[in-house]
């Protein structure tokens, strides 16, 4: 904070011998690096904007795509990302408190706040891992192509699958056997391949089983692509009608009628580029958070061993602090442009 130094007139500042910026080499270079990194992130987010502007298909809506909470299930629009934002802001605050303690040569204070910052960083990384896992695995209903050719995403509570009762024996399962393991995975896999028919599933070993499934609740279809009957932004399809349309399509026996989650080829949320930008931008940001945590740990070790105290100043903490705040800054923009708009 050069502001504390004496005010100098321009003639003295630019007259040589002194740095006109009144700041050390290391801090200046950190700022220049951050400007270039900020341009990289701007480029990525603007590329996202470009793609969104030239896209023909309905772009996913944040509060529909991200509405889950760990342990609580669905129906909490944007709350989880808000929590992630809050975690990152708090760890930015503990970082700035560490920097402030450093300016008072308070070694204990720096140690305490640096540890808090590292913990905050790990919390954020963990949250992002959950977020990615959830994004990749997708919802229980998936995105479905209805019989009229329209494509819809589905909201509501998926009734639990309790078991499969085998009615036609295959290579592995005998008639009458009750399967209780890995049900959801087998069900979704069969749905993608069109191996489902009116309440029955064709398992991988060639056997056919009856699906014992609880009823769905509060089902709602949101049309994302026009078909012959249903249009984007048309009348809301809910309850029994939604269930009828959904299961007609799911049990149609056709391949690729339903998509669960996201990968590099397809996703249930919207255009293909959407998931690719999601993976790249949040992944690149997450990598910054990860390297920030590692750097913070290294600096914390320096603080603990007394290196900076001997040096007479804690500017290394300030420099890593700049990087860490920058990571928070980028997330503020990712949060707005990816999740809110």
């Amino acid at each position: 904070m050069a502001g504390h130094s004496a005010q100098l007139d321009a003639k003295t500042l630019w007259g040589g011998k002194e740095s006109p910026f009144q700041t050390s080499y290391g801090k200046l270079m950190m700022w220049f690096f951050l400007v270039s990194d900020a341009l990289t992130f701007s480029g990525l987010l603007i590329a996202y904007g470009f793609t969104r502007h030239d896209s023909q298909d309905a772009w996913p809506i944040g509060e529909e795509t991200f509405n889950s909470m760990p342990f609580l299930g669905h129906g909490y629009p944007l709350l989880y990302v808000a929590l992630m934002t809050f975690i990152l802001i708090v760890s930015s605050v503990t970082m700035v408190l560490a920097v402030e303690a450093g300016h008072r040569m308070d070694r204990k204070g720096v140690t305490k706040w640096m540890i808090a910052t590292v913990i905050g960083g790990f919390f954020f990384l963990g949250s992002q891992a959950w977020e990615w896992s959830h994004f990749i695995h997708g919802s229980e209903f998936g995105k479905i192509e209805l019989n009229d050719g329209s494509v819809a995403i589905v909201k509501g509570h998926f009734g639990e699958i309790n078991s499969f009762t085998v009615i036609e024996a295959g290579k592995k399962h005998k008639t009458g056997a009750v399967i209780k393991e890995d049900l959801m995975h087998q069900f979704q896999h069969a749905a993608e391949l069109g191996h489902l028919e009116a309440g029955k599933i064709h398992l991988a070993d060639g056997s056919v089983a009856k699906i014992n499934k609880a009823a769905d609740h509060e089902m709602k279809l949101i049309i994302k692509k026009d078909g012959k009957l249903h249009k984007v932004g048309g009348k809301e399809i809910t309850g029994k009608q939604a269930e009828k349309l959904y299961y007609e399509a799911l049990y149609s026996g056709d391949k690729h009628r339903v998509i669960y989650g996201a990968n590099m080829k397809q996703n249930e949320y919207g255009p293909q580029q959407y998931a690719q930008f999601f993976f790249f931008i949040t992944g690149f940001h997450g990598f910054h958070v990860f390297s920030g945590v590692i750097i913070n740990i290294l600096i914390l070790l320096g603080v603990l061993s007394g290196t900076y105290h001997k040096r007479g100043h804690y500017e290394m903490v300030e420099k890593t602090g700049l990087y860490w705040h920058f990571v928070d800054l980028v997330w503020v923009f990712v949060f707005t442009f990816f999740y809110l708009l």
Partner: protein
């Protein structure tokens, strides 16, 4: 050989306990502000649908609130507000020139490419 013309700018940041208290109270105030803005954003995002007539106003509100948050992070947390104006300008002005240009050109081009696709499919 020992040099006496090197200036230790790193020591300029040092301050006493009284000043530290003042800085900390500012940090806590900014924390509360950033949290409140995030809560407001999530509340608006969850309650107003994109199909609503208000959406374009909401969009502008989101962008303004984001810039407000970014401003506080850069100026207070990163201490850019306390640096010399020369340093502040060297960082901010080139960045804003490039990014403003890039936003303008990418969004205009994106819309143009989009309309070309649309006519091609018809």
């Amino acid at each position: 050989m020992e040099r006496d013309d090197l200036i230790e700018y790193s020591l300029h940041g040092h301050h006493d306990d009284a000043k530290g208290k003042e800085i900390r109270s500012k940090i806590y105030k900014v924390t509360i502000l950033l949290t409140l803005v995030t809560i407001i954003e999530v509340f608006i995002g969850a309650s107003i649908k994109q199909s609503s007539d208000w959406w374009s106003a909401v969009k502008i509100t989101f962008i303004l609130l984001t810039l407000l948050k970014a401003g506080y992070i850069v100026m207070v947390f990163m201490h850019l507000g306390d640096e010399r104006p020369y340093l502040r300008n060297v960082i901010l002005i080139p960045y804003f020139i490039f990014v403003a240009y890039l936003i303008f050109i990418a969004l205009v081009e994106g819309t143009a490419v989009g309309s070309v696709w649309e006519t091609m499919w018809q």
